[in-house]
């Protein structure tokens, strides 16, 4: 039963065959999934056009008091410099959704490829890759951040890969653990015996069988990236003022907490709403009906 250091529903669910797919996809998502999906959609729209819906200029210091409570003029109150939080959250959607999503996808893809390759190719390749990434995990992200700012200066183009690099090893570990067990199964042997290349085996034979765990992990990783993003921005690597991603919004307004200022609560809520819905969507896509495996 070595296939038990696989985490989630490995052989369980996999994307339906292309032809029937279109018809079959929706019924499986269910309520939670649809809800999650629509919230994500909402934030995506905001990421693109958030600016237009913003009641105020997200960066202007209105002559309002700081940390104002919720009121008609400022639905989410004002921040530590008297700026409108609603507008800033909407504007922050672009930073957060854009960067964090991009970085997470990058990390996931990187980890996926590396993990699959390690599992399928194995041998030295696997050993070296694993050790290297083990080492990377244990080098603190702050150092990474610093060195990267120092080396390339701070810009989104540096930020995204940095985040990705920091989260790649974790993803790799998971993928590899799952893939190694799939790669041992006969149907992979069949593909090898057919003379298929490693890439085909990685993507067509193994990948579909570990999509579940990978995505489940993706959901969680996204949360971490969002949070790390803010702390890197704090280091100066990342989103530059006056713009701010949601994490940074929470951070810069933390002083409002004693006054129960919505300025600190609302961005946190925004983060939660996005991350939760992403995970809801993923769960409802791949977490469920793993029980179908019963038949033999």
């Amino acid at each position: 039963m070595m296939n038990h250091d696989v985490s989630p529903p490995v052989l369980a669910e996999a994307p339906p065959a292309p032809r029937p797919a279109r018809r079959l996809f929706w019924p499986r998502i269910g309520f939670a999934g649809t809800l999650g999906g629509s919230i994500i959609l909402f934030w995506l729209v905001m990421a693109l056009f958030g600016g237009h819906f913003a009641p105020h200029d997200a960066t202007e210091m209105l002559d309002a008091d700081v940390f104002e409570p919720i009121n008609w003029l400022y639905p989410f109150g004002t921040d530590y410099l008297g700026r409108d939080i609603l507008s800033r959250v909407l504007a922050g959607a672009r930073q957060t959704v854009g960067i964090a999503l991009a970085a997470t996808v990058l990390a996931a893809l990187g980890g996926l490829l590396a993990g699959l390759a390690a599992a399928v190719i194995g041998g030295w390749f696997d050993a070296i890759l694993s050790r290297t990434l083990d080492a990377m995990i244990s080098i603190p992200s702050k150092l990474f951040g610093l060195i990267l700012v120092a080396a390339f200066g701070s810009s989104i183009l540096v930020l995204i890969p940095t985040l990705a690099v920091i989260y790649l090893p974790g993803c790799y570990r998971l993928v590899r653990a799952a893939a190694v067990n799939v790669a041992k199964l006969d149907f992979v042997l069949v593909a090898r015996a057919r003379g298929e290349g490693s890439f085909y085996i990685m993507t067509r034979e193994v990948l579909p069988n570990i999509v579940g765990p990978v995505l489940a992990d993706f959901g969680l990783r996204f949360v971490y990236v969002v949070l790390l993003l803010s702390s890197l921005s704090f280091l100066g690597l990342g989103v530059q003022p006056p713009d701010a991603d949601w994490g940074s919004l929470v951070r810069e307004n933390i002083g409002g907490l004693p006054y129960g200022a919505p300025a600190v609560i609302m961005p946190a809520v925004a983060i939660a709403s996005l991350t939760i819905s992403i995970n809801m969507l993923i769960d409802s896509l791949f977490g469920r009906n793993t029980d179908r495996k019963g038949a033999h």
Binding site: T59, M61, V66, F67, S154, G236, Q240, L257, Y259
Partner: protein, 490 residues
């Protein structure tokens, strides 16, 4: 609670233990007076050591370990020491200790922060068991003040191990862990006779402002340093607690390198100075706990402050005019800010707003606090600096405005200023000297590439049980010397 309540004078009571939280602590904490970098170090050194002199509320030197100080022509100084002062280990103070303590600063290997100041002491020698003679490279009337600064505290002759502190100060060092905490217990035979009142002081740093305030309000600590202005409402809102505000002339300034484009154009510099919405900064960045400044480094509390320079207003029109003239409107300006320079990021944001209004685009580049001073400060065309007040205007000007000063932040070269500076130092007639300082301030205000929008006041918070705290223009926490004077009202 309320502002200033703590300043009422009452008769002190002996005894008690307090916990005090500074705003920073790191493994770089040191008990070596020469190496001191941060207020946390100053607090410790004033607990454990004494200087030859000390500085009072108005930064005027008062005799401490020195019994008398005489000079001729402000060049050769003779210092007589108090008799019978004992170090914590019982050894009595002699001239050798003083000579050793002062000479250390000149040795590069020590890495003293005061090396530049110490270098002007050409010769330091013991001219008697309790007499030290110092010959300066040139006349300097301010030597007594310099000797009152934190780095020139007196240590025992030959001390090289600073894992603990053997000084003559009001407290003895019971425990010291860099970056963790230090515990000071009352020095039974403190030479002054009066004070200190407290039995024990535990001192450590909490770098997170919120945590610091919460620690105070939850009663875990009795006194905290340098709180964020935004937390003032929270502290004042809770009874049993008070805030001590110190006007001390610390400022965060816009640094425009006049040796680089675009700042090499006077119009640009002037335009930027007009672009400061000083009132808004005071209001929204510092919640009113600041003092509008006038692009020159001396605060109104300073005894050489020049009141008759007209205040430069926030004037978008004038700004636009000059910046247009400098051709800065149609190009994007990059301003570097960092947490290292207090509140510079917020100030930059305010500036950015103002610029936007006149159609000028400013990009803020926020950079890590780590290595800011070595990598960005004075290197980028437009950035921020943060300057603590110096004991004397002379030191301040010498450090930051003299044409050949290492930290001539804006690379501002003005022969007339330099002459005035040199003259003022030798000048012993107070009236003449004052006038010279006023002129120098005007020059800075007019021509230098330094924009100083506000002076930032320091806010300490404490429980009302803690009495005897007084503001000192040399810095927060009574110029870091609170330990000797405060007492607990039980």
């Amino acid at each position: 609670g309320g502002l200033g309540t703590a300043f009422a004078a009452e008769t002190p009571k002996k005894g008690g233990r307090i916990r005090v939280a500074g705003f920073s602590s790191s493994t770089a904490d040191t008990l070596d007076p020469a190496k001191q970098a941060l207020s946390t170090d100053y607090v410790r050194s004033t607990m454990f050591y004494n200087g030859l002199t000390s500085l009072d509320e108005r930064m005027a030197p008062q005799l401490e370990l020195a019994e008398s100080i005489e000079h001729d022509g402000a060049t050769v100084w003779t210092i007589k020491l108090r008799r019978g002062v004992q170090f914590h280990d019982g050894k009595t103070l002699t001239a050798d200790d003083v000579v050793y303590s002062l000479n250390r600063h000149k040795d590069p290997a020590v890495g003293s922060k005061a090396k530049t100041l110490a270098d002007q002491m050409e010769e330091i020698k013991a001219t008697g068991p309790l007499e030290v003679t110092i010959r300066l490279t040139g006349p300097n009337a301010d030597l007594p003040v310099i000797l009152g600064t934190y780095h020139f505290k007196i240590v025992k002759d030959g001390t090289t191990d600073f894992t603990t502190a053997i000084g003559t100060g009001p407290f003895t060092c019971k425990e010291f862990q860099p970056g963790v905490r230090s515990i000071a217990t009352r020095n039974g035979n403190f030479w002054k006779g009066v004070g200190p009142w407290l039995d024990e002081v535990e001192y450590f740093g909490i770098s997170d402002n919120g945590a610091r305030v919460n620690a105070l309000l939850s009663g875990d600590v009795d006194l905290i340093a340098a709180i964020d202005p935004r937390s003032s409402r929270q502290v004042l809102g809770t009874d049993g607690f008070a805030i001590a505000e110190t006007k001390w002339g610390n400022y965060t300034n816009l640094v425009m390198r006049m040796d680089q484009a675009p700042c090499n154009n006077p119009d640009f510099v002037l335009g930027m100075k007009y672009l400061f919405d000083r009132e808004l900064m005071k209001k929204s960045v510092f919640r009113g706990f600041a003092e509008v400044a006038n692009d020159q480094p001396l605060a109104s509390s300073n005894r050489y402050y020049s009141p008759d320079i007209p205040q430069r207003p926030y004037d978008p029109e004038k700004a636009k005019f000059h910046l247009k003239k400098a051709g800065a409107l149609d190009s994007t300006l990059q301003v570097v800010a960092s947490a290292a320079a207090k509140s510079s990021v917020e100030m930059a944001v305010v500036l950015q707003q103002a610029a936007q209004k006149i159609g000028m685009k400013i990009d803020i580049k926020q950079v890590p606090a780590d290595g800011y001073w070595s990598n960005y400060w004075m290197k980028v065309p437009v950035g921020f600096g943060n300057v603590n007040p110096r004991p004397t205007a002379d030191i301040l000007f010498n450090l930051f405005f003299k044409s050949d000063a290492t930290w001539n932040e804006s690379a501002w070269k003005d022969g007339r200023f330099d002459q005035l500076l040199a003259a003022s130092r030798a000048e012993t007639d107070e009236a003449k000297r004052t006038q010279m300082y006023h002129d120098m301030q005007l020059l800075i205000h007019e021509n230098s590439g330094i924009g100083i929008p506000v002076f930032i006041n320091n806010l300490d918070a404490h429980s009302s049980r803690l009495k005897g705290l007084r503001p000192m223009s040399s810095g927060g926490l009574m110029g870091y010397g609170f330990a000797e004077y405060v007492w607990l009202d039980t």
